[in-house]
């Protein structure tokens, strides 16, 4: 069968209609993929527009999947599109994965990523994985049927368990270069088309890592990890009983978060520590000197070596969005249990929102 005919008959399920999902959809529809499912429970917001370029200001407040569907029809009216404006769950996997040839992970959180990976292994579906960090992106093809009848490695072979929450920043925490998900989503679309048509060599058993700052590509050969199978549900019952939200949940650790108003009223006598990296803007010099604060800049990367100067001090940590400052507070509380340690909720972004900077 010719490649174009294979594309027309193919059924692809894309989970996530954000930074990755938008370019994936555009290129799959333009390429003539006949049947596409798209799932996302989010509505379009202003903060999406710099990286989810399919959406315009007139779409704000609408479900992303509804906007995507309408725009895809204007690109190719022959495409058959099914949408879900719900958060993707175990039930969705069991019910709908069997209807599709290829699954694409375009989500933005670990709970969804581990859920989709495990379901792909359980139900035998090839999975095109893509993810971004601030300036880096990863793409791989997991669980592809190989010539010897076995399946290629999956996400659990790389990372058997999700990282502790707070450790890895998501896009709204760490910020992401707007064009980067476009680059990574386009690579994912490329892999989907190769899987369907049989063209070329997919990223099966390989992890493709791209850095936008250096334009360097690093490809890693992957191998199966003997402990990964212990963590993948082996039956539908086990899969349905697993709690993915909990497995990837934020541990609270008893750190006190204070909001900006509370900080202004009650905490200006505490040492104020900005743990962002030097390249993160805006800096807080002007604010701190106008308030007459005692303050320091200690990037999280060197905090551990500088904990000594914070011992027995009362400290409020601040970062860009209030996530890394929780980690910093946790580090200081462990090292200096007698310190009064706080994390500024919402971080510098909230200071800006309250027009303090």
């Amino acid at each position: 069968m010719a490649g174009q005919q294979k594309l027309k008959q193919a059924k692809v399920l894309v989970i996530g209609a954000g930074g990755l999902g938008c370019p994936i959809m555009q290129y799959l529809v333009a390429a003539g993929v006949g049947h596409i499912g798209i799932a996302d429970n989010d509505k379009v917001s202003l903060s999406n527009l710099h990286r989810q370029v399919i959406f315009g200001t007139e779409d704000i407040g609408l479900y992303k999947v509804d906007v995507v569907k309408q725009k895809m029809f204007s690109l190719n009216s022959d495409v058959n599109i099914r949408t879900w404006n719900e958060r993707w769950t175990q039930e969705h996997c069991m019910q709908h994965f069997p209807d599709y040839d290829v699954v694409v992970d375009a989500t933005d959180n670990f709970a969804s990523r581990y859920l989709i990976n495990d379901a792909s292994v359980l139900l035998g579906k090839p999975l095109v994985f893509g993810a971004v960090s601030q300036f880096d992106g990863q793409v791989a093809v997991f669980n592809q049927l190989q010539a010897n009848g076995s399946r290629s490695v999956n996400y659990r072979d790389l990372f058997p368990l999700p990282p502790a929450n707070g450790e890895v920043l998501n896009c709204s925490e760490g910020g992401v270069l707007g064009v980067l998900p476009g680059t990574i989503g386009t690579m994912q679309a490329t892999e989907v088309i190769k899987l369907i048509t049989g063209l070329g060599k997919t990223l099966s058993n390989r992890l493709w890592n791209y850095n936008a700052l250096t334009q360097e590509v690093f490809i890693m050969q992957l191998v199966s990890n003997p402990i990964s199978h212990q963590h993948i549900p082996s039956s539908e019952e086990q899969f349905m009983a697993a709690d993915y939200e909990w497995m990837c949940a934020v541990p609270q650790r008893g750190i006190t978060e204070i909001d900006v108003l509370d900080w202004q009223q009650n905490f200006l006598d505490h040492l104020f520590v900005d743990i962002r990296e030097p390249h993160e803007l805006p800096r807080l010099d002007a604010l701190c000197s106008s308030l007459g604060l005692e303050w320091m800049e200690i990037p999280l990367s060197s905090l551990e070596n500088n904990l000594g100067c914070l011992t027995d001090r009362n400290v409020v940590f601040v970062c860009q969005a209030g996530m890394r400052s929780l980690m910093a507070a946790d580090m200081l509380m462990k090292a200096s249990p007698d310190s009064a340690v706080f994390s500024l909720k919402g971080g510098v972004r909230m200071l800006a929102e309250k027009k303090l900077i």
Partner: protein, 76 residues
């Protein structure tokens, strides 16, 4: 010498994207050395590759090798 490369958010923990180090026998020793040098790595998740090949257990690091520390990314 051995070149150690850090990816993604690990560069926030280390402050560098790569560093040259003296020879070490194996990956466990290298990880220990890196944690001492960059304590924030202690609470980080990553996988290890030697010369672009992932390893799942303690492995010999021969002189001249490039060792990658690759973290998971969640963003989309």
């Amino acid at each position: 010498m051995i070149e150690v490369m850090f990816f993604g958010q690990l560069t926030d923990a280390t402050g560098v994207s790569s560093v040259m180090v003296e020879e070490v026998g194996n990956t466990d020793m290298l990880i220990q050395m890196m944690k001492q040098r960059y304590p924030a790595l202690e609470s980080s998740t990553y996988m290890i590759a030697i010369n672009n090949a992932m390893v799942t257990e303690n492995s010999i690091v021969t002189p001249g090798s490039k060792v990658a520390f690759m973290p998971p990314f969640s963003g989309g």
